[in-house]
C-alpha cells in the first residue's frame, strides 16, 4: 500500500476508513467551511480535507478515495494527490479519528 520511498506511510490508516464514533463533521456557517469535532477539540477543515473525510464512509479503500478525488482535482498529478490523502489520513488516524469500516 505504501508509496515507494515512504515505507511507513499509511501504517495507521484503516483499509476502509470511517470516522471514529467520537468524531463528527459539522458545517460551520460562521466560516462557511466544515469542522471536525471531537472531545475537547475541533479542527477547522479546508475544503479538500472536508472532501476527503466525507469519503471516509467505511466502504471506500484508500485507493477508492483517491480515485473519487481525482475526478474533482483533475489538475493535481495522481501521485501527489495520493500523497496528500495519505498524509492527511495518517494524521487523522494518529489522533484516533479513524476506524475500520464494517
Amino acid at each position: 500500500m505504501a508509496p515507494a520511498g515512504l515505507p511507513d506511510a499509511g501504517r495507521l490508516i484503516p483499509s476502509r476508513p470511517a470516522l471514529a464514533a467520537k468524531a463528527r463533521l459539522r458545517f460551520d456557517r460562521t466560516s462557511g467551511g466544515y469542522m471536525l469535532l471531537y472531545p475537547e477539540r475541533g479542527l477547522a477543515l479546508n475544503p479538500t480535507a472536508a472532501n476527503i473525510l466525507k469519503l471516509c464512509n467505511g466502504e471506500l479503500t484508500l485507493d477508492g478515495i483517491v480515485e473519487r478525488l481525482q475526478r474533482e482535482y483533475a489538475e493535481r498529478p495522481a501521485p501527489d494527490l495520493r500523497q496528500d490523502v495519505v498524509g492527511f489520513l495518517e494524521e487523522m488516524a494518529r489522533r484516533g479519528l479513524l476506524v475500520e469500516g464494517t
Partner: protein, 371 residues
C-alpha cells in the same frame, strides 16, 4: 478593550448545578458553592444553548457539580443535538442507571467523560470522600456498551502520581477512547489542600515519562493527554485559551464567565443570563472585558513577546497567590512573585513532620467568617 473585534467563542461550559454527591479535595467549584443556587430552569438553559450557538459555539460541556442531578439533563441534551452542538457529559457517574444513560444516548449525547480518582478502589473513594469506585467502573462499561466514546479523567497529585501506570492500564481495560491525566491546578479547593496535594519535581518527571511512553504506544487507539501543574512550568499555559476568548462558562447561578472561578475574584461584575442575552454579556459585561486582550497587562507581560501566547497566564492563580487578579501569573518564571511558587515547590520536597489532612469539599466554607 478598544478597537479589537470580540473573539468568537467555540466552547460553552454549562455548569448545570454545583450540587454533587462527591467531596473531592481538589474540586474546581468555588469554596462558597453552597451559597450559590441553581437559578436556571430548563428553558433558560435551552435559550443559553441557542444564543451561544448563534455566537459561534460548536461544543458544549455539560458539567457541574454533578450534571446527572438535573432531572432535565435529557431535555438540555436534546436541545444541544437540535443545534448540532457536540455535547460532552462530564460526570462522576453517580447517580446513574443504565436506562437513563440509554435515554441520553437517544437524546443525542456525543461523549461521556467519567472521573476516576485513583486506580485503587479504597484510594479513589478516599479522595472522593464517597464510596463510588466500583459504580464508576460499572458506568464506564455501560458507556461503551451503549456505543458512546469514553473519556476517563484522573486528577493527579502527590499521592497518586506514582500509580500513573495503573491509571493507564485501567483506562485501557475500560477501552477508553481518551485518557486525561490532569494534574490538579492549585486554585479553590486544591489551593486549600495544596500542602497535601502538590507533588515534587521528581515525581512529576517520572510520571510524565510514563505518560509520554503510553501516548506513543497507544497512538491511534487511545488519546493520552498529560497536563502539567502550572506550579512546574517555566511559562504559564494560556489559561482557558485566554480570558473571554474561546471558552464561555455559564455558572449554575446564571453568570456568564470566562472561567470556572472568575466570579470569586473581587471587584469584577459578570451579568446574568436571566437578565441579558449571551451576546450582550459576552461582548460587553465589565467582568468579561476586564482581562480580555492585552491592555490590562502589567510588566513584565506588557513588553513580553509571549503575551499573545499565554495572555498573562491565569487570573485566578494570580489572585490566590498575590491577592491581585491583575498581576502577572506567579507561575511564570518572569513574574516578580515567582518566589511564592518556588517556596511551595520547596515545601513539597521536605518530609512533612505532621500528617497533612485533607479539607473535603463541604457546604460549609472552612474559612468563611460568619456574617
Amino acid at each position: 478593550m478598544s478597537g479589537a473585534a470580540t473573539p468568537r467563542p467555540y466552547t460553552l461550559v454549562a455548569e448545570l448545578t454545583y450540587a454533587c454527591p462527591l467531596h473531592c479535595v481538589y474540586c474546581s467549584n468555588p469554596l462558597d458553592f453552597a451559597r450559590r443556587h441553581d437559578a436556571l430552569d430548563t428553558d433558560d438553559w435551552r435559550r443559553v444553548l441557542r444564543e451561544a450557538e448563534q455566537l459561534g459555539v460548536v461544543q458544549v460541556n455539560l458539567t457541574g457539580g454533578e450534571p446527572l442531578l438535573r432531572p432535565d439533563l435529557e431535555a438540555i441534551v436534546e436541545q444541544a443535538r437540535e443545534l448540532d452542538l457536540y455535547s460532552n457529559l462530564i460526570t462522576s457517574g453517580i447517580p446513574l442507571e443504565r436506562e437513563r444513560l440509554q435515554r441520553l444516548r437517544r437524546a443525542g449525547l456525543d461523549n461521556v467523560q467519567v472521573s476516576i480518582q485513583d486506580p485503587r478502589p479504597a484510594e479513589s473513594d478516599r479522595i472522593a470522600g464517597y464510596e463510588s469506585f466500583h459504580r464508576k467502573l460499572q458506568v464506564t462499561r455501560w458507556v461503551k456498551e451503549l456505543g458512546f466514546p469514553l473519556t476517563v479523567n484522573t486528577v493527579l497529585h502527590r499521592e497518586n502520581l506514582e500509580r500513573i501506570g495503573e491509571v493507564i492500564a485501567l483506562a485501557e481495560e475500560l477501552h477508553a477512547d481518551r485518557l486525561e491525566l490532569a494534574n490538579a491546578q492549585y486554585l479553590g479547593w486544591a489551593f486549600r489542600n495544596r500542602a497535601a496535594l502538590l507533588p515534587t519535581a521528581d515525581q512529576l518527571q517520572r510520571a510524565r515519562s510514563v505518560a509520554t511512553a503510553a501516548r506513543k504506544r497507544l497512538e491511534g487507539k487511545m488519546e493520552v493527554v498529560f497536563v502539567v501543574p502550572d506550579y512546574y512550568v517555566e511559562f504559564p499555559p494560556a489559561c482557558m485559551d485566554g480570558w473571554g476568548r474561546r471558552f464561555m462558562v455559564v455558572s449554575p447561578d446564571g453568570l456568564l464567565l470566562p472561567c470556572l472561578l472568575a466570579h470569586t475574584l473581587p471587584g469584577l461584575s459578570f451579568g446574568n443570563v436571566r437578565e441579558r442575552s449571551v451576546r450582550e454579556l459576552w461582548t460587553s459585561s465589565p467582568g468579561l472585558t476586564a482581562f480580555r486582550g492585552e491592555e490590562w497587562m502589567p510588566e513584565p507581560c506588557k513588553s513580553c513577546e509571549r503575551k499573545t501566547v499565554d495572555f498573562g497566564g491565569c487570573r485566578c492563580q494570580a489572585f490566590f497567590l498575590t491577592g491581585n487578579a491583575a498581576a502577572t501569573d506567579p507561575a511564570c518564571s518572569l513574574s516578580p512573585d515567582h518566589g511564592l511558587v518556588e517556596a511551595a515547590r520547596a515545601k513539597a520536597v521536605e518530609p512533612s513532620a505532621e500528617l497533612v489532612r485533607f479539607s473535603y469539599r463541604t457546604a460549609r466554607p472552612p474559612s468563611e467568617p460568619s456574617r
